[in-house]
Chain length 221, copies 2
Amino acid sequence: MAQALIFDLDGTLVDTVYAHVFAWQRALAEEGMPIEGWRIHRRIGMSGGLFTRGVAREVGRELSADEIERIQLRHGTIFRELLPERRPLPGARKLLEHLRARDIVHGIATSGRRPEIDLSLDALGVGDDTVVIDRGGVARAKPEPDLFLACQAALGVEPEDCYVAGDAVWDLLAARRAGMLSVGLRSGGYGSDELLDAGAFRVYDDAAELLESLDELGFDA
Amino acid sequence: MAQALIFDLDGTLVDTVYAHVFAWQRALAEEGMPIEGWRIHRRIGMSGGLFTRGVAREVGRELSADEIERIQLRHGTIFRELLPERRPLPGARKLLEHLRARDIVHGIATSGRRPEIDLSLDALGVGDDTVVIDRGGVARAKPEPDLFLACQAALGVEPEDCYVAGDAVWDLLAARRAGMLSVGLRSGGYGSDELLDAGAFRVYDDAAELLESLDELGFDA
């Protein structure tokens, strides 16, 4: 009955949220859909379908499949231009090393897709021995629980023994839907209260503070 | 004893915060000072001196005057590349038009400087008849009260009759230091509770919601 940790990736382990926000903002503006930065920010990490529905509501009409594909491709291009490298958030590499050294069961579950996430995993030093569930491995993205449940199943633990660590309310909502506890990290730009209101048991600044606080979560580490 | 409104500019009337965050992040990273996006975001709108002190603490050493100047210039260049146009936030133009039409005393007080802010003022349709206090007009930027006090003096009203509308906790702190009430707008990416905790009397999504809510603030409009 050992506890396990399941991590979100963008904004939780790598510092990519603000580049994603700005890349979406530019890609949408180029298609004549100017949407405010803060509204995009608060939708990062939710499923593409929900994101698109939110965009459609903002611009007041449905988007065609062609438009959606064009915007997604353009977002990817701009994102890679803006951020050719991926920077681990403070403490992220050290936290993962610590978990490996102490044999604490852990995995990563992200709404991103391979091969886009490979640069982030490389920057974190995550190899093939770490369980990574990406968007391609499940039917539904966050805030549906599928990503976290697939990760938990692959780790061979029970949902009630899992803590999800995430920076977005969509991580925390998906954790609740999966029957898991969660901790919120401020490193994606949400405020503490937004994360606590969404169900986080604790909120830390970033992975570095989470590493220092593992005992607060009941990890004997 | 009519009430007056004093507006912050970036993140309150124009959608520039996320471009500023990303431009600072890149300018700092180019100088070998990688700083997380969310920490930059939470410092937007404070004085350059305080911002620089925060950066120095993050990187663990003092910055030279040369470095500071280089980073500031580079930030400006990247910002203009990222955002050649300035987009008013929803309701911003309409709110200012409404205030003009109803003869409600109002002004703008920004930590930005001319000529950088001219594009934003143009996009908002703000002409020479509107009181605009910029960083060059006062000794100290936010969260010191100087900008708001200079605006209030230029408007010919008393501090206790002024509402400050801003998106950052630095606006709200400066308003308290100036003896003014304030409202927080979520359009700069802060959460409601962060704004309320910093002293906002009310929090609205953006200028559009503020316009619809002027009676809640006691404006007969």
